[in-house]
């Protein structure tokens, strides 16, 4: 680890990895720190992404593709089925996918440090100028012209820098998921159960991961969560009822932001991307694409800022405008309205 870089990326999920790769490809010096010992684990995801969306960032490789889906079905409270065909969907293996994205960043020239946690920003007045990094019991001060906060659901880095990233209880889905094997499923069909009994304020999903295997998960609204009525309780109930002989080989849990995005995703010396900026789709809970998309846009804004020698908030707000005005941003705004009307 050096003392200073052009760009410091905090977090090694899809947002951070794409940001680091983009900035390194443009010739900047980049350090990415990931606090977990291994990128991508524990998995916190249903792992689905539109095929077109995936191809915008990486070629489809069989190594990280578990299934290709051609239909999505909504199942209502009265068991009514409605098929929604909205193009092909890929079910990823995120353990492999997230590492592949990190590897691409490294190949482009970014330095990657794992088990390295950003524990505080270095501030000069209001301006973020780097971060304190703790790794293997040692403490480093790393300066950077711009920090890209890609620290996911926790989003503590921006909070330490004075930006409120706290999610209200009615703006988060509390989720639990099992990988269930040896079950009868249609491996080409994704299912979404929308019913207050199965998942109050949210939905339950079945995403096939190849023959006789699927991610089965539940997300409920934070305000619906209580003792005996937690995401894990709804999940256990559903799996016991419908797949009593299924073999569970993985459990994952997580929170998905379904609130409005941060009011501003840039400040002096800092850009905020992906889940850290609260940019998951508030209807479906999917955020991999938005994370990669904003990661790339932020890196492009950072490259331009470094080349112009101007890392002020005023200059970096170009990133904030860029994603809000993009197709992704407009769709996100529409989805926020849909979510509000559902409530």
């Amino acid at each position: 680890m050096k003392d200073s870089y052009d760009i410091l990326v905090v977090g090694g999920g899809p947002a951070g990895a794409v940001a680091a790769r983009t900035a390194a490809e443009a010739g900047l010096s980049v350090l990415l720190v990931e606090k977990r010992s291994a990128v991508g684990v524990p998995v916190r995801s249903g792992e689905s992404i539109g095929k077109d969306e995936l191809l915008e960032f990486i070629e489809a490789e069989q190594r990280f593709i578990k299934a290709e889906i051609d239909s999505s079905v909504l199942i209502g409270p009265d068991s009514s089925k409605k098929t929604i065909h909205d193009g092909e969907t890929i079910i990823l293996d995120r353990k492999i996918f997230d590492r592949e994205l990190i590897w691409r960043a490294a190949e482009a020239g970014a330095e990657i440090q794992v088990h390295a946690r950003a524990s505080a920003p270095i501030m000069e007045g209001e301006k973020v100028c780097g971060a304190v990094i703790e790794q293997h019991g040692k403490r480093y001060e790393v300066r950077a012209k711009i920090v890209i906060a890609a620290d996911g659901i926790e989003s503590k880095f921006a909070k330490w820098a004075g930006i409120d990233t706290t999610i209200p209880l009615d703006g988060i889905k509390s989720c639990a998921q099992y990988l269930v094997n040896d079950i009868d499923i249609d491996e080409k069909e994704m299912q979404f159960y929308i019913s207050p009994e199965d998942a109050p304020g949210g939905h339950l999903w079945i995403f096939p991961k190849g023959k006789r295997s699927a991610n089965i998960g539940v997300g409920i609204l934070g305000t619906e969560s209580a003792d005996g009525k937690r995401a894990c309780d709804y999940l256990n109930h559903f799996v016991e009822k419908n797949y009593p002989n299924g073999k569970i080989t993985e459990r994952s849990v997580g929170g998905v932001p379904v609130c409005k995005p941060l009011k501003e995703t840039a400040a002096d010396g800092i850009l905020i991307v992906g889940d850290a900026a609260r940019l998951s789709n508030p209807v479906t809970g999917h955020g991999i694409y938005n994370a990669m998309f904003t990661g790339r846009l932020a890196a492009e804004a950072a490259v331009s800022a470094v080349k112009n020698g101007n890392t002020s908030k005023e200059f970096l707000m170009a990133y904030d405008r860029a994603w809000r005005e993009s197709d992704m941003g407009k769709e996100h705004e529409r989805n926020c309205l849909v979510k509000e009307n559902m409530a």
């Binding site: 606090k35 524990p42 916190r44 946690r117 996911g152 659901i153 926790e154 989003s155 503590k156 909070k159 330490w160 990233t165 706290t166 999610i167 209200p168 209880l169 988060i172 509390s174 989720c175 639990a176 934070g222 969560s225 209580a226 003792d227 937690r230 995401a231 894990c232 459990r251 994952s252 849990v253 997580g254 929170g255 932001p257």
Partner: protein
Amino acid sequence: MITIRREVCGYCGACVSVCPSGALELIDAYLSVDSVLCKPKCKLCSTVCPLGAILRSEE
């Protein structure tokens, strides 16, 4: 005060994101709480947890 049941926690960060006082953080393999920052009477983290890994003891 809250009590974190490490044997139950799934290291997901949902609780961290709803904590208004920044008292929670995933550090190394575990969720940690800063008992100075944690607010009395608040139980947002224990409510949101998908697994029920945070116990709130009465003040």
